[in-house]
């Protein structure tokens, strides 16, 4: 009888969970040998699908009425993204660039600034690439590129300030024969400096012991894994980092590609620079699947980050550092919101697994850096709702092979109000937004919502909606005679005129980020907006 009740409970729970999270699979016309990237490519902050071959970048641009196909010819890439792909706006022109991690080296496909072309830059150093990321390594406000090296110390390309690639090797993962598989950039100690966790695999124990590189703030990093209790000696290709218990500190779920030297580990961040192994009873203690890919995402929008990548399952976060597996139609996948409904979907080789959604509420945030790198990579985003605090770090390159959205996504469960959103930018600037609208996209431009600073300015005007598709409303006192100018973020002026009745038709503008400048009585004020 007891068994029957247990079985019934289990079955009900299982069905209930599946009811809470399910996907509908659709074919999409993606074309290319490597289909492992979901990210906005045309500047409208809607996630697109990117597939590449040696001489072509195929992009399915997300629109309201489905995907619009674009193909962009490139020179024959010296290196294909056979191991990994990353995206980020390295050259700050408003369009994301691509980084192909190949077995002999790295190739960059830099956007040419028009949104219509890409220029290959293959610096030529020998690298057996593994996980690649875009991140501001030296904190100078320019996005850099990091490439794990399978058989030698890790390498990285610093942006010299003029968008040139400056090659460096050493200082962030120096094991002489490599074993560097999954680099994950995360501020694990909440000091505002981006650190790096290094998942390692293969060879001798010293080679497959993970590192935790604490950013010293001066361009150098120190491996503190042993001190932090994060020197895991498992065969790990990637680790899912997220604040699983919503206590304000990033935790880690260390995945395994083989059970040879141990199983998955759930490590809770103690908030003091150390971690505690809480695998026992977490659900990961009897999770018998292996994978290259372990990454975080809140799939059911309940405000607790889940983990995907392995065993055709999502490990649903129960909110108490325990996880329950749910069957889903994917393991390997790139994650993003592919139909702009606030629920995260999964793309893999010609198929989109659209999240069927539920009644939970959500918030999507687009971070636009000004002092910091344009994507805001490395920024810590916090939201406060009735259920408490949730955090994210803006990251380029999670899991192992795939590139997922650069948009920041939160589920807030049944909460109906967001008290505050705080963005702590790599530059040190802190923006605070009070009471943003739920179930929508919030655009946060660095520096425009600093507490205490705005009141003095008493902005000449405000604009809505943002993002905008056709009519941009401009509101403010006595603006009828005011002049306006609109510039593309790269600086070219695209429109001028008088505010008049406060309605500006921007429908003809190509997708991207723009600055509207309003001049009244000799004073000029500017705001940025996104054209979709």
């Amino acid at each position: 009888m007891k068994t029957k009740i247990l079985l019934l409970t289990a079955f009900t729970a299982f069905t209930a969970l599946n009811a809470q999270l399910s996907f509908t699979t659709e074919d999409v016309p993606s074309q290319g040998n490597y289909q492992r990237c979901v990210v906005d490519m045309n500047g409208d902050f809607l996630d697109d699908i990117v597939s590449v071959s040696a001489t072509n970048i195929n992009i399915l641009f997300q629109t309201e009425s489905g995907f619009e196909v674009g193909n962009f010819t490139t020179t024959s890439a010296n290196n294909n993204p056979s191991w990994t792909m990353a995206a980020g706006d390295f050259n700050g022109d408003g369009y994301n660039d691509l980084l192909y991690g190949g077995g002999n080296g790295a190739t960059f496909m830099m956007s040419d600034g028009t949104g219509n072309g890409y220029v290959e830059n293959s610096p030529g150093e020998y690298i057996f690439s593994q996980r690649t990321n875009f991140v501001d390594i030296n904190g100078d406000g320019h996005l850099d590129a990091f490439v794990c090296h399978d058989v030698a110390p890790n390498v990285y390309y610093l942006n010299d300030g003029n968008n040139n690639l400056e090659y460096h090797q050493g200082g962030i993962g120096d094991y002489h024969s490599g074993g560097h598989y999954g680099s994950l950039w995360v501020d694990y100690n909440n000091d505002g400096l981006i650190d790096m966790h290094m998942s390692k695999c293969g060879g001798e124990e010293a080679r497959y012991t993970d590192n935790l590189f604490r950013n010293n703030g001066d361009g150098t990093f120190t491996d503190v894994a042993a001190m932090a209790n994060m020197d895991n000696k498992t065969q790990t290709w990637s680790t899912a980092w997220g604040d699983f218990d919503n206590d304000g500190f990033m935790d880690a779920m260390v995945g395994v590609s083989s059970f040879n030297t141990g199983g998955q580990k759930l490590m809770r961040n103690n908030g003091d620079g150390t971690f505690t192994d809480v695998t026992a009873g977490s659900g990961f203690d009897n999770f018998n699947h292996t994978s290259w890919i372990y990454a975080p995402a809140d799939f059911n929008n309940d405000g607790y980050i889940d983990i995907y990548g392995s065993g055709s399952k999502i490990m649903l976060n129960n909110g108490d550092m325990t996880f329950t597996p749910v069957n889903v139609p994917f393991s390997t996948a790139s994650i993003g919101d592919l139909n702009n409904d606030g629920f995260l979907d999964a793309f893999n080789f010609g198929e989109v697994h659209f999240n069927d959604g539920n009644d939970n509420n959500w918030l999507t945030i687009n971070t636009i850096g000004t002092e910091s790198n344009r994507n805001g990579i490395g920024a810590r985003v916090e939201i406060y709702t009735e259920m408490g605090k949730q955090i994210r770090d803006v990251r380029s390159g999670e899991g192992f092979s795939e590139m997922s959205t650069l948009n920041t996504h939160f589920g807030i469960g049944t909460d109906t109000e967001i008290q505050q959103v705080i963005v702590r930018w790599p530059s040190g600037i802190i923006d605070t937004i009070e009471n943003p609208e739920i179930n929508s996209t919030l655009v946060i431009i660095e520096g425009e919502h600093q507490m205490g600073v705005q009141e003095v300015e008493a902005d000449l005007f405000s604009i809505y909606p943002n993002p905008v598709k056709d009519i941009l409303n401009v509101q403010g006192k006595s603006l009828e005679t005011a002049d306006f100018e609109i510039y593309h973020i790269t600086g070219s002026k695209v429109m001028t005129g008088k505010i008049n009745n406060g309605k500006i038709n921007v429908k003809h503008l190509t997708k991207g980020i723009y600055v509207i400048s309003v001049k009244k009585e000799g004073k000029t004020s500017t705001l940025k907006f996104i054209k979709q």
């Binding site: 191991w83 020998y126 057996f128 058989v151 083989s258 059970f259 393991s331 080789f349």
Partner: protein
């Protein structure tokens, strides 16, 4: 009278000297031939291959000088169809020792292993083209890697650890084949050539060497020859020896096991970089089907790749299309091909042999 006697001596004494230096009938010790190879362990690696004086001129003929001994493993690594010519040299008075059938011979300090890679029937012109010569030299108990890349004129090979690509088009059995041949970067050497991350030669286990070779002065078992020239001390009568996988008269499974040993065991072994996967492809292990991955569920799911079907096991007996190993061998896609490095083309003959073998297996998985 005295005067005449003096003159007599003056005239005839040289004749006596020259006669006596004629050696006829007088036994003399044979002059010992010395190897003219140049190997100053404090100075290597030399900038040019000719600096070692391993070969007579012209260098490209690869005709070895005294002391440089050709050798060949029974089954060879597939390197995008490149041919190999291998040689071994050791300093005077030292020799390698036997350390087990399935372990590399233990080489003395100063020993050099030389491996030349080349293509024949290279187009246009239908000539032979040497690409690279890889050296391993033992210094102070450790192996050093040194790679030499041949110039187009084929007169010399230069020390180069940077790695490069050499496009080659050649005729093979009437078919034109192309490759963008990869010359490895120095950091790549140890990824295959290692045991527990310590550099080690491949193909120098007794199980690889125990066969006859046609030397210039006659055919002889290689281990026997090495002993005779002073390059090997002792070796046992019984050695668990592999077969030439190209020899179709041999047992199919032994051919497959020999192929898997030389192409895969350096990573897929207890002390290799991929020891965290279940396969142990050393010939000494694969008489046990478990070690081959037969009926073993793979750690990695490769089914999302477009050309891969739905493999269920590493090797599924009776059906190569359900076997992960088949897809990994039958692809050029670098993120799931096997071997991971060392090849960029598909070895059609190897794939054919393994397909035939998998389909012939009669084990049943649980």
């Amino acid at each position: 009278m005295k005067n005449f006697y003096n003159w007599f001596l003056l005239i005839f004494f040289p004749i006596f000297i020259s006669c006596s230096s004629d050696n006829e009938g007088i036994p003399e010790e044979e002059a010992e031939e010395v190897s003219p190879v140049v190997m100053d362990l404090d100075e290597v690696p030399y900038p040019k291959l000719s600096d070692y004086n391993f070969f007579k001129l012209p260098l490209a003929d690869l005709e070895p000088v005294y002391g440089v001994l050709p050798y060949e493993p029974i089954s060879a690594l597939f390197s995008d169809y490149a041919h190999k010519k291998r040689f071994v040299w050791m300093p005077e008075g030292v020799a390698a020792t036997f350390d087990g059938d399935a372990k590399s011979l233990n080489f003395p300090n100063g020993a050099a292993l030389i491996k030349n890679f080349y293509y024949e029937n290279v187009q246009p012109g239908n000539q032979t083209q040497l690409i690279e010569t890889r050296l391993m030299i033992k210094i102070d108990g450790e192996w050093m890697f040194a790679n030499y890349v041949w110039n187009e004129a084929q007169t010399e090979a230069f020390y180069d650890m940077e790695g490069s690509f050499v496009p080659v088009t050649w005729l093979q059995n009437g078919q034109t084949k192309e490759v963008n041949y990869r010359v490895p970067n120095g950091v790549e050497c140890v990824t295959c050539h290692n045991s527990s991350e310590i550099p080690l030669p491949i193909g120098t286990k007794p199980q690889h060497l125990n066969k006859n070779y046609n030397y210039a002065d006659g055919t002889k078992n290689q281990l026997q020859k090495w002993k005779e020239v002073g390059y090997l001390t002792e070796f046992p009568n019984q050695i668990n020896t592999m077969v030439n996988y190209l020899d179709e008269s041999q047992d199919l499974e032994k051919r497959v096991r020999s192929y898997l040993d030389i192409n895969c065991a350096h990573c897929h072994s207890e002390n290799g970089f991929c020891n965290y996967r279940v396969m142990r492809f050393g010939f000494e292990n694969t008489h046990e089907h478990d070690n081959l991955g037969i009926c073993k569920v793979p750690d990695e799911d490769i089914s999302h790749w477009p050309e891969v079907g739905d493999p269920t096991h590493i090797i599924f007996p009776g059906d190569h299309e359900k076997s992960v190993i088949y897809y990994r061998l039958n692809t050029t896609e670098e993120s799931y091909r096997m071997p991971l490095r060392g090849r960029t083309l598909i070895h059609e003959e190897g794939v054919g042999m393994i397909t035939e073998w998998i389909d012939s297996l009669e084990d049943t998985c649980e």
